[in-house]
Symmetry: C2
Subunit: 529 residues, 2 copies
Amino acid sequence: MVDKNISADNSDKAESKKAAKKEAKKAEKASKRAEHKQTTVQLDTPEEGDVSLGKYGNLPLIRSESNSTRVASYVKDLNKSVSGQTVWVRARLHTVRARGKQCFIVLRQREFTIQVLINVSESVSKSMVKFSSGIPKESIIDVEARVAEVPAGVAGCSQQDVELVASQIWVVSLSAPQLPLQIEDASRPEKSEDEEGLNIHVNQDTRLDNRILDLRTPTNQAIYRLEAGVCRFFRECLMKRDFVEIHTPKIIPAASEGGANVFTVSYFKGSAYLAQSPQLYKQMAIAADFEKVFTIGAVFRAEDSNTHRHLTEFTGLDLEMAFQFHYHEVMLTIGDLFTEMFKGLREQYQHEISIINQQYPAEPFTFLDPPLVLEFNDARKLLAEVGVDVGEEEDFSTPTEKLLGRLVKAKYDTDFYILDKFPLAVRPFYTMPDPRNPKASNSYDMFMRGEEILSGAQRIHDPEFLTQRAKHHGIDISTIAAYIDAFKYGCPPHAGGGIGLERVVMLYLGLDNIRKTSMFPRDPKRITP
Amino acid sequence: MVDKNISADNSDKAESKKAAKKEAKKAEKASKRAEHKQTTVQLDTPEEGDVSLGKYGNLPLIRSESNSTRVASYVKDLNKSVSGQTVWVRARLHTVRARGKQCFIVLRQREFTIQVLINVSESVSKSMVKFSSGIPKESIIDVEARVAEVPAGVAGCSQQDVELVASQIWVVSLSAPQLPLQIEDASRPEKSEDEEGLNIHVNQDTRLDNRILDLRTPTNQAIYRLEAGVCRFFRECLMKRDFVEIHTPKIIPAASEGGANVFTVSYFKGSAYLAQSPQLYKQMAIAADFEKVFTIGAVFRAEDSNTHRHLTEFTGLDLEMAFQFHYHEVMLTIGDLFTEMFKGLREQYQHEISIINQQYPAEPFTFLDPPLVLEFNDARKLLAEVGVDVGEEEDFSTPTEKLLGRLVKAKYDTDFYILDKFPLAVRPFYTMPDPRNPKASNSYDMFMRGEEILSGAQRIHDPEFLTQRAKHHGIDISTIAAYIDAFKYGCPPHAGGGIGLERVVMLYLGLDNIRKTSMFPRDPKRITP
């Protein structure tokens, strides 16, 4: 749900002129009730004569009442080098277990964990240990503690060399005691051979229904950091080559006849549609002299496809580029873009990749520099060698694409390659036909682990030839007049392509479902949370 | 229009199995027709005995038939340093004028222009001069020429020290001869005192109806390059501070009661809505331990506001950040973000700013480092000094905001400032009340040239307090259950805000209409092109 109030950032404020005194009084009452509740919780625990009084409990709700220069340490930085120091840490209570006069807490921060020991002592009371052992998992706590070396190592924590010996424990934000899923279960390798435990797994729908919890697993923390890296490499690589970032509208005036695969939007008294691609707008930017453009944004597909790799809304990494003589100028630029991206991931995201691999093991992603370019007919030959015949003007089926991916991998040892010169018959009307082979076109797909992640082409930039080709495809010219008109006032030859971000991340990591790489996935059956 | 075929990038190809021979034959025919057309045009001009034969004409449609290593020069690089050299340039024919045996062309590339001289000579025929003088404006041409110094300077061109003496002229892409608007007219300063000419201006709707042409003006070339810079500075500044980029869904399951200001989408057999803000999802990312997040994406507002500063779709620069003790940790981070952005623009975009100022003069944007922070009550006092009384729990009206902007500018010499501690009564239910002043809240707006460009706040992160505040606002709790639930399993205190990209660029440049900073603007009356 998004209440209109929830969406009020940056909207114009209603020019409220109402006498607002009533409001203020109500707010005061509500705020007092809240404080009261907090106080009550806090008073539940400390007792008379408690040596730890004032060293633990529930903090009042943080309302920015006061400031502090106290600096919290990050869990990842706690190791032998700070041994003996007293630190403050704010993190989640991952697990807690009481044993006699001791209580062991594992604190979690992103993918990092550390053990905290609360031990009855001169300054730590039984009540404080009892309080600590009763804090619900997933609560956020502030801990003051001494960093102590653990020569034997702490099993199961990312910080193995040290533990924290607590002197203060405060609850910053309490979690409900009943969790709809356990972070440990959601973090378990899918094919784990843990014979001890129940080996519980959390299914995809339970994860997505409780996405806030699910996203807290080390794997998910790593996946979305890596995904941000893919966007960063995409942009950096293109900006270095003087591409200009643009923003294209998602609300568009017309869909194709019948509006297949397009979502309809009520637009004031009329209707509009959600863009399936920024392509027209990228091409308009080229016709408007921006020469090289890219855009990152939401793309919508109203396809009722319930597969491991389809979403109804995904993030498109799109680019379009004018060229001088040959569309290969563009195709090879895109190829280099992928090479830079793969190198960047390999060099800068090894930590994330290894965390993800612990839960979802996968072969490391291989690639060649420069990337392998195969022509469609070469690919047909490779397939023919293993007895699979594909016609000269036929498209590959999805299983054939996967088989081809395996053949290419076996022969060239690369998980990424470019397939050039697709049959004209299987490409959209705006694709430039190959001038030398009437059955081929100036178009290409790019593949990762045998699945298509980019489709692109030289586009026809001449309005008359475009009209001919559209008619040839049986398209009603009146429905695409605006598209054709875009090329009326001179347009340089150009080519481009669109990449699905979530697919790239899924395939790079060898994951089995695109819902694992979309933070809040949308498919025909899911639009929540 | 966007035909479904036009949107086929990255979609799965239909597994076409049809015999496609018919297709190939038709394509061949169409392609022959196109070639024929090209040839015809070309044959219109060269004549028997023409000494320039093969040095000018219409190039065949560039279909990547052949490649070349010929490197084209950029117009901006043509100056005295390359005087005497022979270069190839591909650019637009900006203007053309014949005078006896000479023809003068001005070539335009983005905001750069250069004069080309085609002079009847031993190697340049009359026919070539005639052909050149007949090329329609806005056509894209390839010119081979010698760079020649012009000691007297070339008036009206960006490249004043040199001109090009042409030896070859080829039309790469022909423009229709009738243009719906002239680039010179669209480029003219709005208050120009050009007494010679007709002083024609192009109105906003004509510009937007013919956006491809309009975007070719030097001013528009500069505006959208600067806009890309704003996004870049926003990201760079936040990534440096360990913010993680996320992507939030635009299709959302529920709107507030009645769905005011929300666009409805047909979603398979049901309905969905377009997100008015990524706020819920940013907050969920915080509750999911991402700590600091940002997102750049489309934001939708179904408001029937037809003003200079409202769009129904705009680009949101949004961020959300967990803090330790006080929301000022976040507010001041956002303040620093703006300072870095303004410094970046001043240092790296002076060329663009000066081009834009030639057409739309504006005072340079001023700012303080660190930025000025005023409390709401201080602002009320400033206003009271000039006789404008605003109640303690009232919001500022738009005219009052603008007046305040002028007062602040006069007193502090800054076009940017932060207004902190807005009255609780005028802010949404999820805003954290000020713990010390029951009439105030932990919320802030930021202003550029007297107009609001960011609204933000500490959000309530406690589900019970949030429920109380929602009830107090008369909101049906069932409609926001998902929002409230997001905080059930522990959430750190956090604050954030949303920035409208187009507004930032408009106000930074002192422009008068947000349609000047949205490449393809959407408002209640316009969803084209």
